[in-house]
Every structure is written in C-alpha cells, then in structure tokens.
C-alpha cells in the first residue's frame, strides 16, 4: 500500500544569534535525516526527550516552516527543500501542547473554531457556519452554550476539546498533535486521548502523535519513532519496539518508564 504521508531525509537548521570569530552565525541542527512513512488511517507516535526536535518535525509536517533539506509527500502534495515555501499544507491540521496559548483570549469560541472554515474558500451562509461549528462542538463533547464564551471560561481539558474541534472543522486528512495532553491532569488526559482515538476511527484520520510520555505513546500509536538530538534513532511497530528495543537510548527511555 502506498503510504499517505512520506518523509524523506528531512532536516531543519536554525541560525543562532551568536556569531563566530568570522562573523558567521552559528547553526543549530534541530532535525536531521528524518525519513519515515505513515499509511492512511494510522497513528505514528513520536517520542523523545525535550529538545530532541519533535516540535520542529511537527512544524515542518504541517508546513508552518519549510525544510532545509529533504521532502514531504502528503497524498498528492509535495514539499521539497529549496522550492518556494507555499505556507501551510492543505488537509493538515495541528493540535498544540498548551491549550491556554492556542486559543486567542479575545476571540469567542464560535469564531475560533470557525476560523479555518472562514478561510477555506467555502462561502458558507452564517447558518451553515454555525451549524457546522455546533456539530463539531458536540462531537468533542461540548454544548452550544460554549459558542459565545471566551477561552478563559473553560478548563484546560475543555480548551483542548475546543482546539480539537477547530482542527477538525475542515475535515483534514492528517492531524499532527504536539504533546496534546502533557499540560493536563491524568484523568482529563485519558479522556482527550480516547476522544482522539474515537475521532481517528470515525474520520479515518491519519495522525502524527508527539509525546515524551511512553505510556501515552504505547496507548495511541500503531508505529513509533524515537528521536534523540534531532535524529530518528529507532523506528518500529509499537508492540515490537516496546517488547524488544534495539537502540540503547530507547532502552534507557523504557527503563525510566514507571511500571504499573
């Protein structure tokens, strides 16, 4: 089967503000040589410690930043390093880590969720717009009472549901979730994870799910890639990888994981 998402030799460097003796800016390699594939409808887990390049990978996948090297193929779309950066990709959405930063505090929930719809070139009537937002709100477990309210009137878990509703309102085919539950309490986090699994099944979503929590990754992912220092150090089916890690770093991660 042809993979839905294919990533080849992806790299991203950042130039640091500091300059060396010759006045050149120093480069920092945030991501290097990343290659993997995700079949349609599957969840790829991305795990690694802080600073390992997970969020960088996420930004490249959704097209917020261009790659410096390599290419991304998503369905019929190609992004190649060196080509003009065309901005965010179609059919791709993202859920962010911090539900307090990902919603505009001055925008009503209705307008926040409808924002992707408003700029999708659909020219919906106000009624149609409203009913789609209400439908999606209910799907993520919130009532239409939320529509006229502001983000600060909701808890972290509720906000993350709102952020998920916004991400799904245009029916994307790929959802990149960057640590979507690491800011939440355990019980709330479990609800959000189950919501994402339900939605994956219902919409046939392909997902890249980022976390530094191996327990969460094991629960969510079909396949896993392990990142360290901007490189993918191990990749494999979730159960295989958890049962017999081959890379020393993965082993260390696993042994640091609390057992129940």
């Amino acid at each position: 089967m042809k993979p839905f998402l294919q990533v080849d030799n992806l790299a991203r460097h950042y130039s640091l503000p500091a300059r060396d003796f010759w006045g050149r800016r120093e480069r920092f390699v945030a991501l290097e040589g990343a290659s993997f594939e995700v079949p349609e409808g599957q969840i790829l887990g991305v795990v690694g410690e802080s600073g390992s390049g997970k969020s960088t990978l996420a930004r490249l996948l959704v097209g917020l930043e261009p790659p410096d090297v390599g290419s991304i193929t998503l369905g019929e779309q190609h992004v190649r390093a060196g080509e003009a950066h065309s901005g965010p990709l179609r059919d791709v959405q993202m859920v962010f880590q911090d539900p307090f930063g990902s919603l505009d505090p001055r925008m009503r929930i209705l307008d926040s969720i409808a924002e992707p719809l408003d700029h999708a070139g659909l020219s919906l009537s106000p009624d149609e717009r409203l009913s789609r937002v209400v439908g999606m709100l209910e799907r993520v477990g919130l009532g239409s009472g939320a529509l006229r309210r502001f983000p600060h009137q909701f808890s972290g878990g509720q906000r993350q549901r709102i952020a998920i509703a916004r991400a799904l309102i245009t029916r994307p085919r790929l959802l990149v979730a960057d640590e979507p539950v690491s800011a939440l309490d355990v019980s709330i986090a479990a609800q959000i994870l189950n919501l994402l699994l339900d939605i994956r099944a219902e919409f046939g979503l392909t997902m890249v799910f980022i976390s530094h929590d191996l327990g969460v990754i094991r629960y969510m992912a079909d396949r896993v890639i392990v990142m360290q220092g901007g490189k993918i150090v191990e990749a494999g089916d979730t159960e295989v990888l958890f049962a017999s890690p081959r890379h020393a770093y993965t082993e260390r991660l696993l042994s640091a994981m609390p057992r129940f």
Binding site: L64, M94, F96, S102, P105, D118, H119
Partner: protein, 275 residues
C-alpha cells in the same frame, strides 16, 4: 462589562474627572462666564466674587473663563499629540515586529532610538526655535516624541502575541497576514496601547503646559494653563491663587487620564470577567 466598570473605583474616578474636564472644554466653545480676553484695569487681581467666580488676573481678566478655554487647548494638545504618536508608532512598531530579524526592523528601531535618545522637552524647544513658537508647532513636536514610545510598546506587545500558538493556528487556517494582524494582534495589544495612550495624553498636557510656560507653546492672547503659571509668578506673593488654580487644573487632568487608562486596561481584559 458595564457592571464591571461601575465597580472599578479608579476607572470611575478617572472617567468622572475626564468627563468633567471634557465637558468644561466643550462648553467653552459656546459659553464662558466672561470674555476670557477682556481686560479690566480697575478689576486687577480681585479675589473670587459672584461676578468673577475664581477672581481676576493681573489684567483684570476672568480666571474661570481663561481656565475653561485653557482646558480646551490642553485637551486638544493631548488628543492631537497622542493621535500622531499612536498612529505612526503603532504602524511602525507592528511593522518592525512583523519583520523581526530583517534589516527593516533594525532600521525602524534604530531610527526611533535616535529620536528617543534626545531629551524630549529639550528637543521640543530646539524644534520650536526652528519652527517658531506656537500651539500647532508645539503639538507636532510633542507628537513626534510620542512616536518612539508607542512604537516600542507596540513592537514588544506584538512580538509577544506573535509568539503564541493561536497565531500558528491562524496561519494553519490560512488566515492572511493582514487579517491576522487585525483579528488577533490588534485586539490583544489594544489594552496596552490604550493605557499607554492615556499616559501619553497626560504627559502631553504636561508638556504643553511646560512649553507654554517657557513661552514656546500657546501664544497670547490664546489662554493656556502653562502660560497662566508663568504669568502668575510675578504675583505669587500677592495672589497665590493665580498659580494654584492652573496648577490644580494640570494636576487634575494628568491624574484623571492616568486613572482612566488604568481602569480601561482592567475592564477591557476579558479574563477578568467573572466566570
């Protein structure tokens, strides 16, 4: 929001005082107790009476009427100076933030630093010696020195907003750059800008009074609080009232607009709305 405003003491005091000053200034367009420029040699330096509520000055002019017209000039100064500073400063600051890391950001901010590096009043004096004294020139000079202040606040606030994830989300939603500015950036920096505007408004009133005190601002016979202070110096021992009244008017206006700004910042913040 209105209920919240009514329970906010500094907003209330500031709003009432500002409204009072504005009313007085507006009223002076149509009516003053006496003609503020009319001199009465026989009525010089009289204390308050039924005819002259706040007494007369050294030329026998009605102090209450002069104060009223002075309020108009003070408010006009504040309004125009803030409009100049806010208009250009907001534009430059937001533009610099958008272009952060590119030469244009550096160019804008260095140019503004250059303006900012000069002591404002001293430079205003310098400008006025070239342009010639007068209210209009004074207002323009004060307005120009407001630009870097607003630009810095706008740039800092915009950078903070642009760093937040809801901007990434808007980019993913394919919201055009200018729409992101209008719908996400401006509403989120408006509170800060309003507070800064009220502070600068108060400072502009103070600056105009200062320049007029030095004879560089409002020219006679057009009344100004600053010039009233200057005129009163000579008669300080004889009638301290002549210095006290315009001084009080200046202090009250500065206080009023500062309180108003503080209050507005709180009230405009939806996070403070009760759940």
């Amino acid at each position: 929001m209105i209920a919240r405003a009514l329970r906010h003491p500094s907003f209330l005091i500031g709003a009432v005082l500002s409204l009072l000053i504005c009313t007085v200034a507006l009223a002076s367009l149509f009516w003053t107790p006496e003609d503020p420029t009319k001199m009465r040699i026989l009525m010089r330096l009289k204390g308050p009476s039924a005819e002259f509520w706040l007494g007369t000055d050294q030329f026998g002019r009605d102090v209450a009427s002069i104060l009223m017209v002075g309020a108009r000039n003070a408010l006009l100064t504040g309004l125009v100076a803030v409009a100049i500073g806010l208009g250009f400063g907001l534009m430059l600051g937001v533009m610099a933030a958008q272009m952060k890391g590119r030469w244009i950001d550096d160019a804008i901010m260095r140019a503004l630093d250059f303006v900012f590096a000069f002591p404002a009043v001293l430079s205003a004096i310098l400008i006025l010696t070239f342009l010639g004294p007068g209210l209009v020139n004074a207002v323009i000079a004060i307005g120009i020195f407001n630009i870097p202040v607003f630009a810095r606040v706008a740039r800092g606030a915009t950078l903070q907003v642009l760093a937040r994830d809801f901007i990434r989300a808007a980019q993913l939603a394919r919201v055009p750059k200018l729409v992101i500015l209008r719908r996400h950036v401006l509403p989120n920096i408006a509170g800060l800008m309003i507070v800064q505007a009220s502070t600068q408004f108060a400072l502009a009133i103070l600056a105009e009074a200062g320049l007029s005190y030095l004879g560089l601002g409002t020219q006679p016979p057009n009344p100004s609080w600053g010039r009233m202070l200057n005129d009163a110096q000579t008669f300080l021992a004889m009638s301290p009232r002549l210095a006290l009244l315009p001084g009080l008017a200046i202090a009250l206006s500065v206080l009023a607009f500062n309180l108003l700004g503080d209050g507005l910042r709180d009230i405009l913040d939806p996070r403070l709305e009760e759940r």
